[in-house]
């Protein structure tokens, strides 16, 4: 059952999508997520699914809206500049309360940026994915195994809460090969009485829509959505804790940065520094409670990111700035080395974070 196969991260996620019952994929070529499209271009026709290369990212996300409106599981994938183009659609998906899965295999930015790994779309994913008040569920895989399992789970969460799930990956996890178990379990089916599949003369017409010109009504739609978000924050937050229970220095990192941080923490422990890792798996909802709890024993935090310092704001907010938070970051496609992270841990340990 738990037999493992060697797969690339991007291919593992694509296969997991199929296992989750996704039969519709729309995308537009962009590095470094091309394997997703290439894999699905081969697989979808074999299983009677739809692979369609759209004329633009904008068209692709709107095709996603079409399939989601019809009540079927659907996904698109892209990388940072392409995700910017999808932002309009992400806002409409939220406004229409539609479930969908969107993959962002991040690359360096802004602008055309580069094609090497990055985590600099953290703000976009967790705060500014489009106009209006809304959130997406944001999952951050840190291994090829999680590329698969979080995609499978992401589809379930999307249906459960009628939301977009974004898989916020990076080029490293997408390109690397690791053994992965594709034993994903059963697909849960959700009733979608709101879907536009034709009335068949048996019900009033369904309307998938995000427009209301009545301020009182539009306010209520937003409030209802945020009630759902509050529930999700309580029940769906995911993180991994590694040697963090007694840690003086708590490192916070996700995705590829967490893999680097883990090595640095082991090195720090060898030097007698009690370091530990809290790895958010959900970036929204962010594991605020876990960090708040860690602040009880930690004297400082270190946020390790492939950005100029984006997640660090969530770390500071989670602990209400009660402890110093140091930033260890590389950008532009560069990845911090374990030595760089270790140096930052040592700095935090020596100074208690006092700058």
């Amino acid at each position: 059952m738990s037999e493992k196969v060697l797969m690339k991260g991007n291919e593992a996620l694509a296969e997991a999508a199929i296992m989750a019952g996704c039969r519709h994929y729309f995308g537009y070529p962009i590095t470094p997520q091309t394997e997703v499209a290439a894999y699905l271009a081969k697989r979808m026709p074999q299983i009677g699914g739809t692979f369609l290369q759209a004329e633009s990212e904008i068209a692709a996300i709107n095709m996603v809206i079409g399939v989601a409106s019809a009540g079927k599981r659907v996904m698109t994938s892209s990388s940072s500049p392409g995700i910017s183009l999808k932002s309009e659609g992400l806002s409409y998906l939220a406004g229409c309360d539609l479930p969908a899965l969107v993959i962002n295999v991040q690359r360096g930015g802004p602008g055309l940026g580069g094609i090497q790994p990055s985590q600099s779309d953290y703000f976009h994913a967790t705060r500014g994915a489009g106009h209006g008040d809304f959130h997406m569920l944001v999952l951050a895989p840190s291994s090829v195994q999680e590329m698969a399992s979080l995609v499978f789970k992401g589809f379930d969460l999307a249906d459960k809460y009628r939301m977009t799930t974004m898989i916020l990956a990076d080029g490293t996890i997408g390109q690397m090969m690791e053994p992965v178990s594709l034993d994903m379990g059963e697909v849960r089916e959700y009733d979608k009485p709101w879907a536009v599949t034709g009335t068949r003369g048996e019900r009033k017409h369904n309307i998938v829509n995000s427009l209301s010109l009545l301020p009182e009504e539009l306010e209520q739609w937003n409030i209802k959505r945020y009630e759902r978000y509050a529930q999700i924050e309580k029940t769906e937050t995911m993180y991994e804790s590694f040697m963090a229970d007694d840690a003086d220095i708590v490192v916070v990192a996700f995705g590829v940065a967490a893999r680097v941080a883990r090595n640095a923490i082991l090195a720090a422990r060898e030097k007698g520094i009690k370091a530990g890792l809290i790895r958010p798996i959900t970036l929204w909802p962010f594991p605020k409670a876990a960090l708040k709890e860690a602040a009880k024993h930690a004297k400082a935090f270190v946020s390790v990111e492939l950005s100029m310092g984006q997640m660090i704001e969530d770390v500071e907010l989670a602990i209400r700035c009660s402890r110093p938070v140091l930033l260890c970051s590389r950008v532009g496609g560069m990845i911090p080395t374990p030595e760089e992270v270790l140096a930052k841990i040592e700095e935090a340990d020596k100074t208690g974070g006092a700058e």
Binding site: N62, I65, A70, Y92, G198, T199, V208
Partner: protein, 251 residues
């Protein structure tokens, strides 16, 4: 006994359109085609952004409200999800021929089996009468107050002519709703476009020349005359493409 009645597919609600606007006629023709073909229960319509944004309230079939210009992409998704559905978009000239040009051209190029109802009234109505991609040379609008100057803003886009070069398009026809004869021809074209989709023939687009008395600053009857005198010469009526015309003649 002949009873002139509201088509079942047209919801029994008050439309918000301005007096004299021809959107109401086009709505009726679409609903009538749906009724006559008996497809209301499996039809999904895609509403645009523009004057007809509330079209989702006016048809009794399932409806999706798309972002500006994106209706053909949304329609593509709906159709691919359930190919048994009859899927149409209802779009204005700003939506279809400006911000949604790529979606229009490429859904046609793919030969997407959908029906596009394109209402061309040569102006942005909902936002108060700005210059549209189809605004005629010299036509005064809020954003072309001295008349459309083709030297600086270019020429109107003739959608049917443009798409007639797209191999994937199956059926393209331009009609008008300014008099009884033309309305009857429009009804036939719209019904044929839906029928083509039912027969799996691919992409159809019916361009309907329409009036906007409010933003043209004309009375409804003068607007109809303006359409006749100014729009039809620039946008000639007729079939621009029909891949299956020969087949039709035999039938």
């Amino acid at each position: 006994m002949i009873v002139f009645d509201r088509p079942h597919a047209l919801a029994d609600v008050k439309l918000h359109y301005c007096p004299g606007c021809t959107h109401g006629i086009v709505h009726r023709l679409v609903a009538q085609a749906i009724d006559e073909l008996g497809i209301e229960g499996r039809t999904v319509g895609i509403a645009p952004v523009g004057c007809s944004v509330f079209a989702y309230n006016y048809f009794n079939c399932d409806m999706v409200e798309a972002a500006h210009g994106r209706a053909p992409a949304v329609a593509t998704g709906v159709k691919r999800a359930n190919p048994d559905n009859i899927v149409f978009t209802y779009q204005g000239d700003g939506d279809l021929a400006a911000i949604g040009t790529a979606e229009t051209v490429h859904s046609a190029a793919r030969g997407e089996n959908i029906t596009v109802i394109f209402v061309n009234n040569a102006i942005y109505g909902m936002t108060g009468g700005q210059m549209a991609p189809t605004t005629l040379p010299g036509q005064v609008t809020q954003t072309s107050p001295y008349g459309r100057k083709v030297e600086s803003v270019g020429y109107p886009v003739r959608v049917c002519e443009l798409l007639s070069n797209v191999t994937g398009a199956a059926y393209l026809e331009r009609v008008a709703v300014n008099n009884v004869k033309n309305v009857r021809a429009a009804a036939a074209a719209i019904k044929k476009a839906f029928r083509y989709q039912m027969e799996g023939k691919g992409f159809s687009l019916i361009e309907v020349l329409s009036t906007c008395p409010t933003n043209w600053g004309l009375t409804p009857d003068k607007a109809l005359a303006w359409l006749e005198e100014n729009m039809i010469p620039y946008y000639p009526l007729g079939v621009y493409k029909d891949k299956f015309a020969e087949e039709g003649k035999q039938a």
